[in-house]
């Protein structure tokens, strides 16, 4: 007996119901592809904001610098250390930090100065590409600074405006100089958005009278992304020695790390709920289709078709419909997700300035299509519809032929 042919005919016979069922499944499948691609995009975006914009994979500090960021707690031989780290196949960049007051014409605010190594920072992080307005720092323009988005609003400054810094130098004098707003960053993280002023390492050294050598932080990024983060930390640790603190970003930001880890689970839960609804549609449709053919199944049984073969037939019908639905869903879903990957979903009105555990969420959500985000919803669809038809299939398989034939 040719199940496929028979099943196809059966599907075709009540084509209207089949189309409705297929459409429901296809729609759910498409939506779930879009949803998981979007989730994947948001997760990747948050991770990018945390790691690639700011934290890097691994950071080195003086032992208790993070608890009490004192400008005197420097990694003294930071240049040699960074070079050694680069030599074993990582990228690394030094950073300096200082605090003070930044004043514009109308307003003033406490700021965190971040001195970045212009020759290496861009090898480690992508923050130089994350500019909302203006341009990134330039060695030839030491007084041009890049500031956080909310700080710019707080100080009421735009590109080219003058800022005056007042603070204290490392040798106890007054640190004072004027700067120009050269660039304004997009949302990165609450700390950066609200108070960061980025300038070159050398400018900050001069302003705060810090020694020629040394840094407060060394940021490290793996070149080979497949290398395990913990393994990379161990490698760096063995190089650095005991007197400095080596932490990877999952240790530095445990809350965000946990959130990102569990985000995939959240997608799966969402998938499950949506498909339970779809499964009930499939169940309903198959029940209807099975019950109106009880007479027919009775005849089949009477001529010697075995229960298992009947189950196979019902399954074949479901699989044909699911297959059609997943093809339609695949095209529809990937097309929509692809559009969202290119243009994004503008959530500005709902989620502007939204942040989670100090990490800014980009108000425009971009989807990220991956094999995972497409295949998971489809695989789930098959599993759920297979579960849904267990009941109708076993029901007809266990019919008594005599009763079934007389059933009207």
């Amino acid at each position: 007996m040719n199940f496929a042919k028979l099943a196809a005919r059966n599907v075709y016979r009540n084509s209207r119901r089949s189309v409705v069922t297929i459409a429901a499944m296809a729609f759910a499948c498409a939506m779930m592809i879009v949803f998981s691609a979007l989730m994947e995009g948001v997760i990747a975006g948050s991770e990018r904001n945390v790691v690639a914009m700011n934290t890097g994979d691994i950071q080195i500090h003086q032992q208790d610098y993070r608890d009490d960021p004192d400008i005197y707690k420097m990694i003294t031989s930071s240049a040699e250390l960074s070079n050694a780290i680069r030599q074993i196949g990582f990228v690394a960049s030094e950073r300096l930090f200082a605090f003070g007051l930044m004043a514009s014409d109308n307003s003033s605010s406490g700021v965190q100065l971040r001195g970045v190594d212009l020759s290496y920072e861009s090898t480690v992080t992508e923050i130089h590409q994350h500019i909302m307005q203006g341009t990134w720092l330039e060695q030839t323009d030491p007084h041009g600074v890049v500031i956080g988005k909310k700080l710019a609003r707080l100080l009421d400054v735009s590109l080219g405006d003058e800022l005056i810094f007042v603070g204290q130098t490392a040798d106890g004098y007054m640190a004072n100089d004027s700067f120009n707003v050269r660039g304004i960053l997009k949302s990165v993280a609450a700390g950066i958005d609200n108070s960061a002023v980025l300038m070159s390492n050398s400018m900050l050294r001069e302003l705060i009278s810090l020694p020629e050598q040394g840094a407060h932080q060394i940021v490290i990024m793996r070149v080979d992304k497949k290398q395990a983060l913990s393994q990379a930390s161990e490698l760096i640790k063995s190089l650095v020695g005991q007197d400095l603190e080596v932490m990877n970003w999952r240790q530095l930001m445990p809350v965000i790390s946990r959130f990102l880890e569990t985000a995939h689970v959240q997608t799966l839960i969402m998938l499950l709920f949506t498909y339970i609804a779809v499964a009930s549609i499939v169940l309903n449709a198959m029940l209807m289709s099975v019950f109106e053919r009880i007479h027919e199944f009775g005849i089949m049984k009477a001529i010697g078709v075995r229960p298992l073969q009947i189950v196979s037939l019902v399954y074949a019908e479901t699989i044909i419909q699911t297959l059609l639905a997943s093809i339609v869903g695949l095209f529809l879903g990937t097309a929509l997700a692809w559009y969202l990957q290119l243009y994004g979903l503008d959530m500005t009105s709902l989620a502007d300035g939204m942040s989670f555990a100090g990490v800014a969420l980009d108000p425009i959500w971009y989807a990220e299509l991956s094999i995972n985000s497409v295949l998971t919803p489809i695989a789930f669809l098959f599993v759920m519809s297979a579960i849904a038809v267990i009941y109708p299939a076993t029901k007809v398989a266990r019919l008594s032929p005599l009763e079934a034939i007389h059933h009207q």
Binding site: Y72, L101, A103, S108, S109, G110, I164, V166, Q168, A170, D171, G172, Y173, M174, N176, D177, S178
Partner: protein
């Protein structure tokens, strides 16, 4: 009652004692009042001009600077840095509860925001808030004499100042010790809200200044860093001089 910022620059004409609330006993009320008045009178003046030097020693640096200051009434104070050259011309104007700083390097005047008030003033162990708050301490504390007699070979009187119930102050308690005979202050202890010693201000090197004996050296030692200090040395003091209100305007910050 003593406020070191007042002593530093003879900023404010004090009328501290008048607003204290006193114990029931009229006799002791009068005594506290008279004594604290005498202490106040050491630096009392409708207006003043002073030259002081400040030395700051911390774990990481030691620096010295000289400055001159003018005051008129309680609310107006101006001081300018004379040395070192690197900071010459930097001026701070205190007018009421506001502090403005003029920065010669960038030729700007900046009004300090509330967020900066707890920041160190000129790298010293004083905060900007100390400069503003000092003028108001008189309204914020209740005073009483808690010890009288000989201690460490000196005949002294000890006052304890407790903040009033609704006073917006950062200290939990102040203790002031003066010499019993000359009524010259010796030391003042600042306790935080948990009644743990936060800093000590000691007065020494008594010399004639502006017509009578006064302590000319004032040392602030933070309790958590006993090796660090900020020391002020009085070089010159003139009281009740004529100063124009114009001196305490934003425009005069830049001059000279």
């Amino acid at each position: 009652m003593i406020r070191f910022a007042i002593i530093l620059f003879s900023f404010f004409a004090l009328s501290a004692t008048t607003s204290f609330s006193f114990a029931e006993d009229t006799e002791s009320i009068d005594r506290v009042k008279v004594l604290l008045n005498q202490v106040d009178d050491l630096w009392r003046g409708e207006s003043s001009y002073a030259v002081t030097s400040m030395q700051v020693k911390t774990e990481h640096y030691t620096r010295t600077m000289r400055m001159e200051g003018w005051s008129k009434g309680k609310e107006k104070t101006l001081f300018k840095i004379i040395e070192p050259l690197r900071e010459k011309g930097t001026a701070t104007l205190k007018s009421g509860n506001h502090i403005y700083t003029y920065l010669p390097k960038t030729d700007r005047t900046i009004k300090l925001t509330s967020g900066m008030m707890m920041g160190a003033w000129m790298g010293s162990h004083l905060t900007n808030d100390d400069l503003v708050k000092e003028a108001r301490l008189e309204e914020d504390y209740d005073a009483s004499i808690t010890f009288e007699g000989e201690r460490d070979g000196h005949n002294i009187i000890e006052f304890t100042l407790i903040p009033k119930f609704d006073a917006a102050v950062v200290w939990g308690k102040l203790t002031l010790i003066i010499l019993a005979d000359s009524h010259i202050p010796v030391v003042e202890y600042y306790f935080d809200e948990d009644m743990i010693l936060a800093r000590t201000i000691s007065f020494s090197d008594i010399k004639p200044l502006a017509g009578r004996d006064r302590p000319t050296v004032l040392r602030v030692v933070p309790a958590d860093k006993p090796d660090e200090y900020t020391e002020f040395v009085y070089e010159q003091l003139e009281l009740n001089i004529t100063v124009s209100d114009i001196l305490f305007s934003l425009s005069s910050l830049k001059k000279r």
